[in-house]
Amino acid sequence: GAGVSQSPSNKVTEKGKDVELRCDPISGHTALYWYRQRLGQGLEFLIYFQGNSAPDKSGLPSDRFSAERTGESVSTLTIQRTQQEDSAVYLCASSLRQGAVNGYTFGSGTRLTVV
């Protein structure tokens, strides 16, 4: 597709369950980013991929969070043993290698609700 696609768009899960969030970036975009946006808050950086490697994982809140990318394409963000404070919109973005100047293209996000 022409844009960044994220699935599911909405996810309600019970506390303690694991969830997987998927991101399909724009074809040819080598850089991929995951952000978290809590209600009324700004974008909180989680992890950055260049190709299939993650040179910066510093934003992952705890070891319950992990992410991978394969084929320089699809990325999956996994949250294990979900907690209520994990409730947020998880945004994925992709960019060309020089994206800091060209800008990021964001998906519409996955709204995660932990009950």
């Binding site: 808050q41 945004l91 800091a100 964001f106 519409s108």
Partner: protein, 110 residues
């Protein structure tokens, strides 16, 4: 840590009025971008400024990058209801990285 402070956090104005929102930092950025985010959607890039003192105009929106490349402003002339949204500034640093502010929530009342 690159920290961007946006002010005011929330602004409500009548349709037809002008408004200015600000993005400030103590860090120097290689570029500065503004995004607009509407409910249920991801942020959408509006503009990129790269040169200190640069001014860019997009129809009724005017963006300015500070001379020292630490701050920026967004001015909207004759606001319309379609301008309602969360305006995010983002500063470029390092290799291909952006740091985001918390946003300016703008509400234009008809």
């Amino acid at each position: 840590t690159q920290l961007l402070e946006q002010s005011p956090q929330f602004l409500s104005i009548q349709e037809g009025e002008n408004l200015t929102v600000y993005c400030n930092s103590s860090s120097v950025f290689s570029s500065l971008q503004w995004y607009r985010q509407e409910p249920g959607e991801g942020p959408v890039l509006l503009v990129t400024v790269v040169t200190g003192g640069e001014v860019k105009k997009l129809k009724r929106l005017t963006f300015q990058f500070g001379d020292a490349r630490k701050d920026s402003s967004l001015h909207i002339t004759a606001a319309q209801t379609g301008d309602t949204g969360l305006y995010l500034c983002a500063g470029g640093y390092g290799n291909n990285r952006l740091a985001f502010g918390k946003g300016n929530q703008v509400v234009v009342i008809p």
